[in-house]
Amino acid sequence: MTLIVENVKKFYNDHLVLKGINLTVQPHEFICVLGSSGGGKSTLLNLIAGFIKPDEGVIKVNGSFVTKPSKERGVVFQDHALYPWFTVLENIAFGPIVQGMPKKKALEKALRYIELIGLSDYANHYPEQLSGGMKQRVGIARALAGEPEILLMDEPFGALDMFTRENMRTELIRIWKEVKPTIIFITHDLAEAVYLADRVIVMKNGMIATELEIHLPRPRNYRDPEFSILMENLEEHFVS
């Protein structure tokens, strides 16, 4: 799976929010898009997801143009967007079922993903009965159960508390190593980006300000001196 974003521009009410984005994402790569709010990160993600359309430029996945949402591009939302009328299990089975899998098989598949996120005891709970971190794990499992080639994550841990957030990062890396989807992860948290990504894309004012590859071995340690140096490197782009 290769994703190519070519000179993409997007206007909102005559205001240019994306000023020509070029980006190539390799299979199984973990990309973090880092930027302050209003920098165009979410717009870029929505474009790749196919929810909105570029005014100029193209987005290609495996050579074909992105024109609308598709199951090859799964999305994890900041507000998790779980369906409150379905149980955890039914939420996760939603993708396989709508893709035509027989219900029984889909539920079995969902059980495997529930195990992956460690919530087997909560299969028959409704989302409202879960904590924020648990909901977000279900959100990730639901997106993965649809077997996307690329997982788009829009500040998925933004609404979680600090402790849960750190747990979720570790979890996400574990899941990613197991399932190996390509991930584009939006965040405004420097440490999060350095902890998670193979490559950090820094966005500023609707442009890619810089890119930084991160070769630190996983699991990464926030107290590692190299970790701090990388963070300082990134920070410079926001100070100026």
Partner: protein
């Protein structure tokens, strides 16, 4: 051991809570009983002192006895049956058409363009104003009554359902699309369940209006029904019958409303919210 103790404690807390709730439900009866006792006392005193004509304000005990008498004569059963049939059929048709219309309007833009302004024009006309016209068109049989009930039911159900459809979270739809759902699946699995609470709100509003429509239509040109008992009682000064019919209408409406709530609770068991779940008492 510690675990056991904790569990036992949890169980006892739970039973305590259930006990409390039961107590509360039981307590609801007290104001009702007090109401009837007060009514009985005041009307009995009135019979002695004749402050107002006691015939117009009978005590509940006499109404009850009259009700038993009417029950034995078969009039009550007949009236309840014919009223119930009318309300059930009319209400069901109204809800069904209301939901279908709303779904079509929510889904097909052309239908919205052509029908919404017309509905907005007709909707505000009080249905009861149309009853005489319906009687002229359809006679005095069951049809005008059922049409009137269906008509009153239709509008609140439709507008509430449309409201629900239009306010479905866009992230629900987005995530469904990204998981590979097609339009039909999104409609069935996302839009309808998320609109269900609005449909029930519409139904509750409609139910009250539908009962008004029922009673009025039975007052104008009917030979049976609870509304008919009321006009008949007025014509022959059978005040007790009138009270019996009024009370029965109240009871029937309450039962229907309760039934709707039970169905709603069953279908929307995923729903949490409101004061009940906000603060533990």
């Amino acid at each position: 051991m510690k675990n056991m103790a904790a569990r036992q404690e949890a169980v006892s807390v739970y039973t305590k809570k259930v006990g409390k709730v039961r107590n509360k439900k039981y307590l609801h009866a007290i104001p009702i009983i007090a109401f009837f006792v007060l009514w009985e006392v005041i009307t009995r005193l009135n019979i002695n002192f004749s402050i107002v004509n006691p015939v117009f304000f009978p005590p509940p005990s006499l109404i009850f006895l009259n009700g038993v008498e009417l029950f034995h004569s078969g009039l009550i059963i007949d009236s309840i049956v014919s009223s119930t049939i009318r309300i059930v059929i009319g209400f069901a048709i109204g809800v069904l058409l209301g939901v279908i219309a709303a779904l079509l309007i929510g889904r097909v833009e052309k239908i919205e363009f052509w029908f919404m302004p017309v509905f907005n024009m007709i909707g505000p006309i009080p249905a009861l104003a149309l009853l005489p016209l319906f009687i002229i068109w359809f006679g005095i049989g069951e049809i005008p009554k059922i049409i009137l009930i269906a008509w009153t039911t239709f509008f609140p159900v439709m507008t509430n359902t449309i409201d629900g459809i239009k306010s479905v979270h866009s992230s629900y739809i987005r995530s469904a699309l990204s998981l590979g759902a097609n339009d039909r699946q999104i409609f069935k699995k996302i839009i309808i369940p998320s609109t269900l609470p609005n449909i029930f709100t519409g139904c509750q509003i409609s139910l009250g209006l539908a009962f008004s429509a029922l009673v009025v239509s039975e007052m104008m040109g009917a030979k049976s029904g609870l509304g008919y008992i009321i006009v008949d009682a007025r014509n022959y000064m059978k005040i007790l019958n009138m009270y019996v019919a009024i009370i029965l209408i109240g009871i029937e409406y309450s039962l229907f409303s309760l039934l709707l709530k039970v169905i709603e609770k069953k279908l929307l068991k995923w729903r949490t919210g409101g004061f009940e779940n906000a603060v533990e008492k």
